[in-house]
């Protein structure tokens, strides 16, 4: 999946990846996609919950061989 902007949250635990996502997404234009790379497994549940609360769209979650989780969030408004 392709993203316009990517942030590295590897090594950060809850709630930091979500806090960083919320602050980064403000810089994006509606329709742009933000990739969040993290290794805290909680993000697989937390990001869809955050998206549901904020009205953004969680496009997908991919886990790579290194155990890093790539979450793609589309800014909707």
């Amino acid at each position: 999946m392709k993203a316009d902007v990517s942030i590295d949250c590897v090594g950060l635990y809850c709630p930091m990846p979500i806090v960083k996502t919320a602050s980064k997404i403000k810089e994006l234009e509606p329709g742009q996609v933000l990739e969040v790379v993290a290794d805290d497994k909680g993000i697989k549940q937390d990001m869809p919950a955050w998206c549901k609360a904020t009205g953004n769209e969680c496009l997908g979650i991919e886990e790579d061989k290194n155990g890093e989780i790539h979450v793609f969030v589309k800014k909707t408004k």
């Binding site: 930091m16 602050s23 609360a53 904020t54």
Partner: protein, 164 residues
């Protein structure tokens, strides 16, 4: 959608505890709720006042009992201890070390971050009076001093209210 920003969901926390672990939990929820677009107010009362006391200087109380009390109960985010296995400060030291290893923000950093995210911090005037904690004892992130009606006024409009 910007017109609807005024209709933000609210979360109100009452923090009665001055334990490091509980304060951390409160600020984790506050910062996360703020990042979810919620309007957050944190109401600090009783031992919770220790969380938002400034770390530097002394607390200038009046009267012998209150003066003594604020020496033994100095407070400040950097002085809080964990509620279990403190072992005279060693347990707290270990937890802080483990948190640092995990790149977790300290409680102090959480308070600054919460403030920057628009979290409102309120000190309870009644407990300030009982304990002899003057207004200038608090860190600059604390913007309001208020009473129970302010907490309930916020709480009745909130989707989430927690007593910590």
């Amino acid at each position: 959608m910007s017109e609807q920003a005024a209709l933000k969901e609210k979360m109100t926390l009452a923090i009665c505890s001055g334990d490091l672990d509980k304060a951390l939990a409160a600020f984790m929820l506050a910062t996360t709720a703020a990042s979810m677009g919620m309007e957050v107010s944190m109401f600090f009362t009783f031992w919770g006042l220790n969380v938002i006391k400034k770390n530097e200087g002394s607390i200038k109380s009046k009267g012998l009992i209150r003066k003594m009390f604020n020496v033994i109960n100095r407070g400040g985010s950097k002085r809080l201890t964990i509620s279990k296995y403190n072992f005279g400060g060693f347990g707290t030291f270990m937890i802080k070390r483990l948190m640092k290893e995990m790149n977790m923000p300290s409680l102090d950093e959480f308070i600054v971050m919460a403030h920057e995210m628009g979290v409102k911090m309120i000190a309870c005037t009644t407990t300030c009076g009982i304990m002899g904690v003057p207004e200038d004892s608090f860190r600059p992130e604390v913007t309001t001093l208020a009473g129970a009606a302010t907490f309930l006024g916020d709480a009745r409009e909130s989707k989430i209210t927690l007593f910590i």
